[in-house]
Amino acid sequence: MGADRLDSRAWLCWGLAAMTPLLLGRNPWVLGEVLLIVAIVRAVWRPVMSEQGMGWFLRIAATFVVVGVIFNVLTVHSGDRVIAELPEGWPIVGGILTANALVYGVLGGIALFTLVLTGLTIATLVSWTDLFHVLPRRLAPIAVTGSVAWAFLPQTAVAWREIREAQTMRGHRFRGARDFVPIVVPLLAGGLDRSLAMAEALEARGFGVSERMGRQPRSRSLDWTFAVGVILGLGGLAVAAYCLAVGMMFWAILAGVIGGAALAVIVRFTPAPGSSRTRYRLLAWRSADSLVSVTALLAVAVVILRNGTSPASLAYTTYPELTWPSVDLPMLLVLGILLAPAVVYRPAATS
């Protein structure tokens, strides 16, 4: 059952399962448990993770958390535990400042941070190349774009640091948003250079050559169908995720159905590219992959079900009174199975 790598689809299932409770509520017990589990899985899988240059994501997330907490405290004048009071006359920030708002802000921050951490973990452990092969052929360009973008991120992070340091040494001071022009302009110029180089490399290595060989040229209207389909599909799924996050279930389902249908249409009805592309690697689905996927989907089902029948197991609000959050022991226990990836990990035997 042990494995030193998991199928990308298994990782996606696990990521979905870890993110679902974070999107549905802010019960501190649940947040804390998920954060702990994600941290454990990261620690266990660290030997096979390569995250150079990814720390800045977490730093940005941490910054958002701090800013979010301050913003929440200053603008939500509600709750029973008053810390301080600002003159009512002050626009927006005037009024009572409460511990309720503080706790709420901190919980929101933890949820956001855990989401970013989970996303980062998944993106690092998933193989874009595998996804490239798992996705239907018409969607392959999406996987290649994702792969290239993911390769760019650490480079961009490194470039950002280098440029910032160079401009600082030059004597520049960063105070307001406008002071970031000296970073952003060279960063964009460099990014443009790199994306041109990448496009050139793809072209020179024959990317997409099989789609044109052995088939008459694609019609323009089909290209349009494809473009609209992809936008509608991915857009729909993004809207669905947002609606799910703010609790608009009806719209979430509607957008999800539309997005899924659009993707299904382009996969089914736009003609498949020439059948000449082949696969180098056959993906093996192992028992460890099954275990991780099944436990993850089970956790998702339990969380969604529990959210419907007993909202208090996931939800928690600090307004209007600051109270202890409710504990849903059975659900906390079930969420524990999200440790599955950490359980199945075995280091690769070194030869």
Partner: protein
Amino acid sequence: MRQSRPERGALLLVALILIALGITMGGGATALAQDPTPVNVAGIVVDHGDGTVSHVIVPFEEASISGVELLRRSGLPLLTVEFGGMGEGVCAIEATGCDLSACRARLCQTGDPDSAFWQYVQRGDDGEWVPSPLGASSSDNEDGDVDGWFWTGVAPETPALTLGQIAAESGVDLETYAASGPLPEPVVLTTGDPADDDALGTGSALGGIAVVAGIAVIGGLLIFRSRQAPT
């Protein structure tokens, strides 16, 4: 030596937040206080939907005040959201309700049209609850009126008591109450036990700690195992 400054700052901030938290959780002060002279009295029936019902007697000086204002003067902890010019929506009364984001989206309702929200009704002359056509921010409440706030998605079944019945239940003599000097304190009487949710109450916090600690211990072992040389 130098670069660690921002990190240090962040740590300091977190520490300050935790200290502030400790202080306020320990013994916070309740804000909200009123003064001037009494004239009118109205009643509120708050049904939390979990088996607890609060009956409140609220004094006010104006000839008439809105439903939200009346509720606010009851002193019950309240979370409301401002909808621009369209008035205020009630998200939570005491611990019942939803958080701001869910409140802004659909006033706490989920996709299910029967899901609970804070329904606002007024007691009609015929002893029935009547939905207010104007909404709680614009309704009128005069001396002797009774408002209802019910956490439910369906038609309310809570008895529509008169102000007199509420006062009698709370042991308040309305005449002396209305005349009793500068504006008296509102009177709140809560009856009933919170129902099924009780199982999840603070009582099982120990259980929660046990689960999280268990996961931490198992996690530690797993991390330890992953660091061992492969066999």
